[in-house]
Symmetry: C2
Subunit: 326 residues, 2 copies
């Protein structure tokens, strides 16, 4: 049951925590993560892929536990010198972290794909989980606000997610193609579940689903799709998810998230504090599993990873007869 | 007499020391340095201008006194992380220093000239001396060796200047144009002397002289041209100058340097230890000034700067009558 192959969709911090837990709960080389690159941007001439880096740093034990981004034991001499030279400093790039961006930019300029660069970095950092950008082309999240659209990082970092959000646009969705390795992972023999991490549905998961072909490939995989709620007790575990839901007029609860995933998700993992929502979510046509979803420690992550895998496995058993009978 | 305008030609360390001395011996805003960019290269996707940076760092008090390159109080996290990612690490880029390269690359990509970028950095760092790249186009020194040609930094840093040198080629000299501001400085009213720093004649000064129009503009300026010997007692003060002279079959002495500058230089500044060479150098048609040329301290630099300025002023007085009489 735990011997199958798993695909997870992930944004940054929250998703990375679940993926780390999964990597301890199953053979990591059987796990493939399709990562949001809608937050990617070019800054100071460097190609920056925040969610890919969060995954690589988290899985290699190098993530900064305090900030939720960047690397641990980081230095800031580069930023100091940039300030001195009058360069842009609103996006913080640590001295260690910078090597990732410089080397990625160099490799991309030399003709490598983002998938290839990420694979090289994963190998160097000893990451055994397959970490895949959703696309090798640009598909960039643009945040709609009353004052006009903002590229994601300007909204999120420079403006500290303060402007109210009226919607999102995924710029490049007409021309971006799904990462062929991501499609392959979704079609591979032995796939037993697709998991959606406790990431922001709008800015972390929706960009992945906006890549042409990926949503369909997920539906076509014929395995349970299980999402973990990023909202617990009406609040986001991290970042502006709850704020966005309020601004978008969506119920700010795990139920709101579940409804957002309607038609895609078979099973929904709910925190114990939200157990009262289980019936309403089941009424949306999803199975519900109630668990501790707050991942403060590595143990929490492994426990949640294991719980999600077991829940998905139960769903697979449940749906098997109906399928052969259908 | 000391109120005139001065132009200096400079490579990295040795030239920068003299320029720093000059900047203390005269009003710095009347001093313009035309800097070698033949050592410039693109590395890790970054535009690197070692001699320009050495000038800016030296004049702003940020140079690393131990290494002769890079910045003081430097950190190496970026390099550590590059090694971890399998990137190239033979060219050491400090965490502070890196900001200069990233910001220069960004500004160049946005359409600024190297002259403009250098002026912005100089202003930010409080440098009052005019620091000018010799050209805004590429003119790159290529070192000829028995094993074939090597781009300068590969020869100098990666190969540690070990391969024997058979000659030099300045790639791009057909298309590079002189920095218009450098030409302007050489033609400006009030110019009283042109100084050639104690830099390597072959790889620091010759590239400047190879820029179309610069050598002629120096000759046309009608002011004394004074060179300071980079060779003292048969040895280079810094770097591979003496080694190169031996390999090129040039006498490894201040006399060899003076002969190299024949036809360009009116006055030659010789170290006390080489006073015995004065007559031979005068026989080459140059006036000679004997001075302490080793610049260990700031005082040494200021003293040498003052001596060079006074020597040039004397030469101007000496030549004035012969000119009006000729």
């Amino acid at each position: 049951m735990m011997g199958g192959r798993i695909v997870a969709l992930s944004g940054g911090v929250g998703g990375a925590k679940l993926v780390l837990g999964l990597a301890h709960a199953m053979p990591p080389e059987r796990l493939t993560v399709i990562v949001n690159t809608g937050d990617d941007f070019e800054h100071l001439g460097l190609a920056i892929s925040p969610d890919l880096d969060t995954l690589l740093y988290t899985l290699s034990g190098q993530a900064n536990p305090e900030t939720g981004w960047g690397r641990r034991d980081e230095g800031w001499r580069f930023m100091e010198a940039m300030a001195e030279l009058g360069g842009e400093t609103w996006f913080r790039l640590g001295d260690h972290d910078l090597a990732t961006h410089v080397e990625r930019t160099r490799r991309l300029a030399a003709g490598a794909t983002l998938t290839e660069v990420t694979a090289v970095f994963a190998a160097r950092l000893g990451v055994k989980v397959g970490v895949l950008p959703m696309s090798d082309q640009k598909l960039r999240t643009e945040v709609q606000t009353p004052a006009g659209p903002l590229p994601f990082q300007l909204y999120f970092v420079r403006e500290r997610a303060v402007p109210p959000v009226t919607g999102f646009r995924f710029v490049g969705r007409e021309t971006a193609r799904a990462n062929p390795m991501a499609l392959q992972a979704l079609e591979q023999a032995g796939l037993t579940a697709i998991l959606i991490g406790p990431s922001n549905p709008f800015i972390s998961i929706d960009p992945i689903l906006a890549v042409p072909g990926l949503r369909q490939a997920i539906r076509n995989a014929g395995v349970p799709v299980v999402a973990v709620s990023p909202i617990v007790a009406g609040r986001a575990l991290k970042g502006p998810t709850a704020k966005m839901m309020t601004e978008l007029g969506i119920e700010t609860s795990a139920l709101g998230v579940a409804r957002h995933y309607r038609g895609l998700v078979d099973g929904f993992v709910l925190d114990e504090r939200d157990a009262a929502l289980a019936l309403s979510i089941e009424a949306e046509g999803m199975a519900v599993h109630v668990s501790g979803t707050v991942m403060a420690t590595l143990d929490d992550r492994v426990r949640l990873g294991r719980a999600v895998l077991e829940f998905a496995a139960r769903l697979a058993v449940d749906r098997a007869p109906s399928r052969s009978g259908g």
